[in-house]
């Protein structure tokens, strides 16, 4: 088969054109609809939107399995009742790294000008210092006003989700970071009671260590676990006001009270397991469940883990020195400025901030409502005690989970902590933490 030269010459550009055509014409954006149907509790108390909605609503999160996915599905089931019409919900999820993979994809999309309808993001500086600062999020002030959320949510939460008095995201749930979990049987066998102060903690730890039981199980493969341990130690040592001051620049990072807190942190690390860097938090919890360790300090998602593993002998107290303080983190949803189908998104936000929505989501997820008026009876034992605390405790933002500091600042702190867990040098750590505050332009 002899081709003429011009025919051959055309091959190159032709191939390119073909590719381009396939690109424009093709693309299967077949939408995935994980049901917007199914039996579900009636959506009383949630304001329905006026006109019927349509189109696709893309919800971006990292809730892919277990209770999280179940909770999300419960919200999807409620959606058509609260937001009548025929909206197709696209459940875009990416798992991994406690949201790391999702954050990366989200950043690429937001930078690339292709925002999802709404996305899961932690309350506080994780959102405020990123997409709010860049002007990519809509103000939700009118929504909060019209839905009565200024009274339904505690003031502490309103403070955290707002910048200059304007709220930018709706908290679906609340998790608590300052919880000390212990194995009740291990404690009773050894005649121990759960510690509430650092002194008691070290007494208990010594007793456990003498019996060959790891006092404090730590699994920091994902780094956030040791940052969380630092934050609860800071909180217990400094108290809620000074702790909050760390994030606003009013507390001096180089001060002696911080030094004392860091020294306590250093001491706590001496009671942890050597292989902590190979374990994730749930594998550390396994050690407690198996009786190989006595305690672990971790957020209240441990409750869900215990239930999944059938462990009923778990006890809990606030971490040493933090009774009466709720170290809070929350998953929230906001409204990006160029979001496709903003009406459907706004209705979704109404749903997740509503009593019905939160009552549907939280028992499955294993967290408490951000609202203070949820029906307690829907929740398990631990969560009920958490709900009581939530109504009365002082609320402080969590560091490790994006509420207290910007992502950049948190990253510098995490690096410093990773180094510290290895070299245990308090003055180096304190220097690096002070510098981090200055780099974040919060301290001067």
């Amino acid at each position: 088969m002899r081709l003429k030269s011009w025919q051959v010459l055309a091959v190159g550009p032709l191939a390119l054109i073909l590719l381009a055509l396939a690109a424009c014409g093709g693309g299967d954006n077949a939408t995935n609809t994980p049901t917007a149907t199914g039996g579900s509790p009636t959506a009383s108390g949630a304001t329905s939107s006026a006109s019927p909605l349509s189109g696709t609503l893309e919800i971006f999160s990292w809730w892919t399995t277990g209770g999280e996915a179940a909770g999300l599905q419960a919200l999807y089931n409620l959606y058509p009742q609260v937001c009548p019409g025929n909206v197709t919900i696209q459940n875009s999820t990416i798992a991994g790294g406690g949201g790391d993979a999702a954050r990366q994809v989200l950043a690429s999309r937001m930078q690339g000008g292709d925002p999802p309808g709404t996305f899961q993001i932690h309350m506080g500086h994780e959102l405020l210092d990123s997409y709010v600062a860049s002007g990519d999020m809509q103000s939700l002030k009118s929504l909060f006003d019209s839905q009565g959320w200024n009274t339904a949510f505690p003031q502490g939460v309103l403070d955290i989700v707002s910048k200059d008095g304007i709220p930018y995201s709706v908290p679906v749930n609340i998790h608590r970071a300052n919880v000390l979990w212990y194995n009740k049987k291990t404690f009773t066998d050894n005649g121990l009671t759960a510690p509430t102060t650092f002194d008691q903690f070290f007494q208990v730890a010594d007793a456990l260590k003498a019996k060959g039981i790891t006092p404090l199980a730590l699994g920091d493969k994902d780094t956030f676990e040791s940052v969380q341990l630092l934050e609860t130690t800071l909180l217990g040592s400094l108290g809620p006001d000074k702790y909050k001051g760390l994030w606003t620049g009013t507390t001096d990072w180089s001060g002696s009270d911080v030094t004392a807190a860091l020294t306590t942190f250093q001491k706590m690390l001496t009671y942890t397991n050597d292989d902590h860097s190979s374990l994730t938090w749930d594998q550390a919890n396994d050690l407690v469940i198996q009786g190989k360790a006595g305690m672990t300090i971790m957020g209240d998602w441990v409750d869900a883990d215990n239930k999944a593993k059938g462990f009923t002998d778990s006890g809990w107290v606030p971490t040493p020195g933090t009774s009466g303080t709720y170290d809070a983190l929350s998953d929230t949803f906001g409204l990006p400025k160029n979001a496709p189908n903003p009406d459907a998104v706004t209705c979704w936000l109404k749903l997740v901030g509503s009593k019905a929505g939160q009552e549907a989501f939280n028992p499955l997820k294993g967290s408490v409502c951000a609202r203070t008026d949820c029906d307690k009876s829907l929740f398990d034992t631990y969560l009920q005690s958490a709900i009581d605390d939530w109504k009365t405790d002082t609320i402080v933002p969590s560091l490790a989970h994006g509420a207290a500091a910007s992502p950049s600042w948190l990253s510098d702190i995490s690096d410093a902590v990773t180094s510290f867990v290895s070299d245990r040098n308090v003055s180096t750590l304190q220097d690096r933490l002070s510098t981090a505050c200055k780099t974040a332009t919060v301290c001067s």
């Binding site: 030269s5 051959v8 091959v11 210092d129 990123s130 050597d274 860097s277 190979s278 290895s422």
Partner: protein, 345 residues
Amino acid sequence: MIKSEAASPPKEGWLPRFRSSPPIRFLTSERAIALALVSPSIILVAIFVYGFIGWSAVVSVSNWHNINPDYSYVGLDNFKDLFQNFRFQIDIRNTVAFTLMFVLACLVIGFVLASLLDRHIAAEGVFRSIYLFPMAISFIVTGVVWRWLLAPRAGVNLLVSKVGWNPDYSWYTDSKVVYVHQGSALGDALHSIGIGFLTNPNYGLPLAMISVVIAATWQMSGFVMVLYLAGLRAIPDELKEAARVDGASEAQVLRHISFPLLRPVTLSAIIILGHQSLKIFDLVVSMTGTGPGFATDVPALFMFQSTFRANNFARGAAISVVMLATVSVLIIPYLYWSLRKESRL
């Protein structure tokens, strides 16, 4: 015709063999056709590689430290900060350590297995498949499995303890770095010749990295084995027989005949393994994360976290530029040398 070529010994490395044949004389219209045929690739690579590298370079000298793009020029500040950053210094050390260990292990194990298999082994195909198949698995799965296998509390330690041996090695949770200590004999010797700065953990070997090397070697040594096997099989028996007849021992045959002829294969393997190890990411993320005291942290991971977790785009771009520069430093001289060699023929 190709088959007879394959029987003779490989003369050049399989990486850029610019030498091939004198150019065919052809007319300008044909030249146009030739250009047109490669033009799609050129255009695509120009955009997707060089265009994007350009973007990275621009960001690396910008002030873009938050979500908001800020392209104002800051000169080399980001690079200065980067090289002073304690984590990045550790990353450099880790990359050097990992690359040296990984490449060496793959070459040695690959060669040993290939030379063993080259001896009329029964069920050679089975052995070959077993050594080669880890390549089929993604680095992420490899990382997950080896994380379990080398977890101090389980895995290999557990297996070995079942037969009574309890070394209880800490594998990738080991934060120890092997380096020359100040005040040791070697340390003093280094001081006396003026390179005392080497007595620093940043110039040491992080023991935790060994675990990652094991996993990566498991994955890639089969490929090196196959390369060597093909290379060994291409060595004509006549050469070896001639040497043996002349009285050479097996070891000498190996040293003076096989090794030199395998040099191109070794070079190719080094290039492929080397560039993989400089970019290593998936394996580290799924297996160890950053490791105790950043013992298994690598630049690609630092770059990823800088850009997507800390929103520090400028620092992320600076790291990419450094990674690229490092690779270039290693690859370009080799390519240039090959090019010169060929044009001299």
